[in-house]
Chain length 401, copies 2
């Protein structure tokens, strides 16, 4: 059992503090965030599969792999510190070291994360001043500020928390995220920082996070791009003094809640995708294999032609079928049926049931579901995508200027 | 040795006639094309890899596979006859039969091709009248009309021919094509109809066409989509009375010319891509394997972020490197160098040489080259792409209305 907490955040969780400030890396908006737990946290992470990995990501990945616990994450927006070579890696270490000094921690207890423009050196003087300024700002209500400070072209704060009832009491799970452009399948997909006051061993924590990411952040697409800096981090500090053991009923409850919050975060990223005006759920049913279900969902979610048709509220089911056909999955187009929400559009054997007016009404909504029944087996999966608008092009035609 | 013929077309070739008319499938523009050779033609073809294949494509594919020769291709635009089931397949056969009757041919000598909206039945009465009208229009100067009649959202006619000097005389090779949206790698990728008056055996003709398609039509991307109707057909009628044998010097000359005309056709499709304002050549060098070279080229050519940056003339080399990194190829980002035409932008070890002003000048041109040296081996390949503009979204948001 779990319930979402109103205005929840990464600091809804016992023992976590956070802050978010403007330090001058961006022109005006907040650009530096810090999340901190006084208790050591077992830490799990998922990281980009792009061969080009940003310096802070490499540093944080090595810490999550090598160390059992961490206590803080420092995150800047405005500069990705990616494609910056040896010097960039040194900058990430310096950022980590400065932050550790101010918090009286070992550098290896501090994770580092960056997002923004690729290929520019980090303005280290600005950052140093920022780190000095942010540490005294740490607060138990700082989660929303932190969520604001990690945004790039995001227009809305992504911040959630759930309260989970377990056999021995309640624990809390909170998270903040950022997305917008460069959102695509097959890895952590964006920045997400999750905190819990449950006590969970590292290997179990990693297993739970990897499974949750697989059905949430790895099932969304804004533009089919995989960034150099994407990561999702989950820190568990045990402040609630409730331990979650593998294969227990409590573990199942925690997992359900973790998946739910990750899905909400993922959906909030898609619906705030660059230029997006619609959040579309794509449900694939009755595939031969789960791999096929995933391929078809991914292909539809990534299709520029489907996404532009959605933008125009055009019930172009042919593009959906064509995207399924080019997915690489083993499908038989004559067995496919398609519906928009509850409105049948295409039945097997190409039997058309399209009521253009009703269909267009559904596709004009801010949220709706495209159901694709492959009619070949029993595997299924769910993807989320957004429409592709002129605004996406405008935003990305001169992102750096 | 070969040279392009001014205003060349599929009827620049001896023994071929063609016509293109308006018959009423579209609202105003020409929508029916016919190509015809009085001599039987050995025929080769490449066809879409989309699992959803249009009825006329299935019919033509089976003819190319089973029969040695053909004499005509009937092509309509405005209606794809795709996702139309059994009835649609019968319509394609009827279209073939009507055309064969009017030309005094066996149905199996007539190929059928369609392009346009998916999932609507073909207006057969309109088509019947059209076939009656077009046959008397066949002419040795009809190639350009045919090129016009196969266009959908294309803004320019795609028509070329080359004259090839061989040891025993000259042969001609002509072609017309259409593209615009749904242009992507890994198959025939659009409609292309090529004619030659050389005499070439079927198996050799197919080998030559497949090789040429691989380095031309299969190396372009407008939006990463693979259509249900894509095909490229090459017909050889032997009217020049010059036979081309495998592994001969003449064969090499013909192959060079075939690749050249296919590349010109492919490039003309990209530069006339929906909403495109720029034609960009992407040259990948020094990859570990040819597979890696192709993956990197494809990933850059398909990247929405690269294509929007190109649209904005923004020298965002980080997106190019990131696209290479997410391609699945085995690359070491620190070894990569990037240049725009002759202007170095990135050297190995992330050494930045970016002169924003000079770079932006190059990226503002209608045509330029992005060179990506992976620094790891000796394999290479070339891709072509276009920019992604607001206009692409506008065109595709309500294509059917």
């Amino acid at each position: 059992m779990f319930r979402f907490i109103e205005n929840g955040s990464v600091t809804s969780t016992k023992g976590f503090k956070a802050a978010g400030i403007f330090c001058g890396i961006k022109r005006k908006r907040k650009d530096l965030a810090l999340i901190y737990s006084s208790l050591p946290c077992t830490t799990a992470g998922t990281f980009t599969l792009n061969k080009v990995k940003a310096a802070p990501l490499l540093l944080s990945q090595s810490i999550v792999l090598k160390n059992k616990t961490s206590k803080a994450v420092i995150v800047n927006s405005g500069n990705a510190n990616a494609c910056t070579g040896e010097e960039g890696y040194k900058d990430a270490i310096t950022m980590q070291t400065w932050c550790a000094e101010k918090l009286n921690l070992k550098p290896s207890e501090v994770l580092v994360s960056s997002t923004g423009v690729i290929g520019q050196r980090m303005p280290m003087d600005t950052l140093k001043k920022g780190i000095e300024d942010i540490v005294p700002q740490l607060s138990e209500c700082g989660g929303i500020d932190a969520a604001e400070a990690i945004m790039t072209t995001d227009t809305k704060i992504k911040s959630f928390a759930v309260n989970i009832s377990l056999s021995k009491g309640n624990v809390t799970l909170g998270g903040i995220g950022k997305g917008s452009g460069m959102i695509a399948p097959n890895m952590a997909t964006m920045l997400g920082f999750l905190s819990t006051d449950a006590s969970i061993e590292k290997s179990l924590l990693q297993k739970l996070l990897s499974e949750a990411v697989q059905v949430s952040f790895n099932k969304i697409s804004v533009d089919g791009e995989t960034s150099t800096n994407d990561m999702v981090i989950l820190m568990a500090n045990g402040a609630a003094e409730i331990k979650i053991e593998d294969d227990s009923a409590d573990c199942l409850s925690f997992k359900e809640a973790l998946i739910a919050i990750c899905k909400e975060m993922a959906k909030s990223i898609v619906s705030d995708g660059e230029g997006a005006t619609k959040l579309v759920t794509i449900k694939i049913k009755n595939a031969k294999s789960s791999k096929d279900a995933n391929l078809v969902g991914k292909s539809i979610a990534n299709s520029a032609l489907v996404k532009t048709a959605i933008h125009g509220a055009d019930a172009n089911w042919g593009r959906i079928l064509s995207a399924a056909g080019q997915s690489g999955a083993d499908i038989d187009p004559a067995k496919v049926s398609i519906s928009f929400d509850d409105l049948p559009v295409l039945l097997p054997e190409y039997e058309l049931r399209l009521n253009e007016e009703s269909a267009s009404k559904i596709l004009s909504q801010a949220e709706f579901c495209i159901n694709v029944d492959l009619g070949q087996g029993s595997e299924e999966c769910t993807w989320w995508t957004c429409d592709l608008s002129e605004e996406y092009v405008k935003i990305n035609a001169d992102y750096r200027t």
